[in-house]
């Protein structure tokens, strides 16, 4: 045992200081969540009967879910729309998605008053509840992402039979992922449809679910750009900006479509005064201009699309706008004029920072130990040395065994 521990400790010693810092943040977050369970939600958070939902719901769930939308978006683009060139981006996106959803589940469990009863959603169905729908979808989709994530794991350990099965499941999983994601990304918007008299008219309109879904798509694409650029800069992976250029060509269309739905929905379908609260109006404008209009015009120019730095800036703007949008809907827009302002407590902040750090940390570690980036399907031999497959001669089952990257 000690020998094994020694090896692990030595391994961790060898990590970059940044990773050690991330480990520190994750440990802090874990301690903070332990404190939450010992002392209770009321003492450790700034939540109360006026603000039943705070940072953990607004960021860890409502914002983190669209931030993890890269996997389903790219899966659909690559496999359904068949833009195979982008294949090298898929695997990192799946890892990001899988980590994202796992951490969403962690955040949700921390926020529940009775996390040990989370399984109740599977037993006591209430199909009228958007929360029921979202929890079922998140469970289903985390499973899908886990299966997709198993591919690099099986490659690493050379499990050929499961690889075959996973390969065979690829398309069903991709299509399942897109359908399930469509449902829960939009249903996160449905959450707030019940808050008719609470959510401000700038955000409350019946098309909120559709807007949530569309913004998840452009955020998913932007997250992939951000992640690929970061990985190129800090993890010594090849420059993928040529592939990212394809994604930046898609972005203005989605952003434009979003505006085409959002502006009429805001001005025609909302009920209640739109311009009665200047601070909310400023937040609304910031979200629209920074997060949608500016990046849309940026990516309409070829010069911006091909420049790696502009790609990163545009994508970051989209992401910042999305984060602001989700906070506007789930927090700022829900605050009534005469209410005290909510701000997260130290424990709440530590937990959320820990969750973000855990995402970065696990991503780097997974990339370190599993073939995440080296995925070039044409070089991987999925065949197993069996003779059961009758089509063997023509379908990849040849002497190429062992050619896997």
């Amino acid at each position: 045992m000690t020998a094994a521990a020694r090896i692990i400790i030595d391994e961790i010693r060898g990590y970059h200081n940044f990773l050690k810092f991330m480990i520190g943040l994750v440990v802090l977050g874990a301690l903070a969540s332990a404190v939450r369970f010992v002392l209770g939600l009321g003492v450790t958070t700034n939540l109360n009967d006026v603000y039943p939902w705070g940072l953990w719901i607004s960021f860890d769930v409502v914002t983190a879910v669209p931030l993890a939308a890269g996997a389903f978006t790219l899966g659909a683009i690559v496999h359904c729309f068949h833009i195979k060139k982008l294949e090298p981006l898929v695997r990192p996106a799946i890892v990001t998605g899988f980590l994202g959803y796992s951490l969403v589940s962690v955040g949700l469990l921390l926020d529940l008053g009775q996390p040990q009863r989370a399984w109740h959603t599977m037993v006591y169905w209430n199909v009228h509840s958007p929360m029921f729908e979202v929890s079922m979808c998140i469970m289903a989709y985390t499973t899908v992402l886990f299966l997709e994530f198993l591919s690099p794991v099986c490659e690493k350990f050379g499990y050929h039979v499961p690889l075959r099965v996973l390969r065979w499941l690829e398309m069903p999983l991709v299509i399942g992922a897109a359908s399930i994601s469509t449902l829960h990304q939009s249903s996160l918007g449905t959450f707030f449809l019940i808050a008719v008299d609470k959510l401000h008219a700038l955000w409350y309109n019946p098309l909120l679910p559709l807007l949530f879904w569309m913004s998840a798509i452009f955020t998913g694409i932007s997250i992939i750009i951000l992640e690929a650029t970061m990985v190129h800069r800090f993890m010594g992976q090849p420059d993928e900006s040529e592939l990212l250029e394809i994604l930046t060509r898609i972005l203005p269309w989605v952003l434009g479509a979003y505006l085409v739905v959002k502006l009429p929905a805001t001005f025609l379908l909302s009920h209640g005064p739109l311009f009665d609260r200047p601070s909310l109006l400023a937040l609304f404008l910031a979200e629209i201009i920074i997060g949608v209009i500016v990046p849309m015009f940026m990516f309409m120019k070829k010069a911006c699309r091909v420049d790696q730095r502009m790609q990163l800036r545009g994508a970051s703007l989209v992401i910042a706008g999305l984060v602001l949008n989700r906070f506007n809907v789930s927090m700022f827009g829900m605050e009534q004029p005469d209410q005290l302002i909510y701000y997260p407590s130290i424990i709440e902040s530590l937990v959320t920072i820990g969750i973000i750090a855990a995402h970065v940390l696990f991503f780097v570690l997974l990339a370190k130990y599993f073939p995440i980036f080296e995925h070039h399907p044409e070089t991987v031999d999925y065949s197993i040395p069996d003779h059961a497959r009758k089509t063997a001669a023509g379908d990849g089952h040849t002497q190429a065994a062992g050619a896997g990257h």
């Binding site: 509840s129 023509g394 040849t398």
Partner: protein
Amino acid sequence: MSSLPVNFDTTKSFLIDTTKCTGCRGCQVACKQWNQLKAEDTTFFSGEGYQNPPLMSEYTFTRVKFKDYQKDGQNEFAFYKEMCMHCNEPACASVCPVGAFVKTAEGPVIYDAGRCIGCRFCMIACPFGVPKYEWSKAFPLVRKCTGCYSRIKEGMQPACATACPTAISYGTRGDMIKEAEKRLKNRPERYHNAIYGKDEAGGTGILYLTQQPLDELGFKPVTKRSLPSYTWQALRLVPGIFLTVGGGLSLLSWFTHRKERLRREELFKNSKLPAETTNVETKEDSP
């Protein structure tokens, strides 16, 4: 959402005539006694005006709000009993992922603490801010007025209605609305011409008569539509969207992969003849 009575005229309702309320707060005491709720350590003027405790909470399911105003140069009080509205179509019941809230056939909206997972969606959804959380506990649950369901089942009236000397009438919703309309008609000078709760949130199990306009008393302006209908108009599309997206993408993939598939079949056919040198992969750019 089970056992939804369709005819809400027969469900039990409160008619609270705030013009008759003396502000004795007997209802608050009776509620605490029947539900065995802890007393709260409060200070005077901790909320708006004279009311005490300042807000409903996990320990206080009902309370009388004091509203002071001036009439003919005199300081006057208006009182308004705050409690669960026991909506006909409750928002809390519709959003709860585990169906912990149920609108009973008798009228009260009751809560099953054994099911609750503590997500607090009910608190977000309730337009009246009724469900309260046990913030003091490590594993909290939701608390709210039960409409004294246990008493009603035994043929008794709710504790607060029993204790109230003047203002609360209790009976079927149809009768209570008739009674309220009669009072409005007989003494129009006494009342503001509206029954709060008749149409609010699609109709509630608590009906209020007031002297002042409702907003002056601190009644929240609430939509007249039933709240679950707002989310259901989106949620009902879920199966259709699932099938459309899934089917659409499958179809799209079938077409986009068609060329590749045809080529592979071609290769397979050819390979039947000389099966030796076909080092062919499934991708286009294979050697």
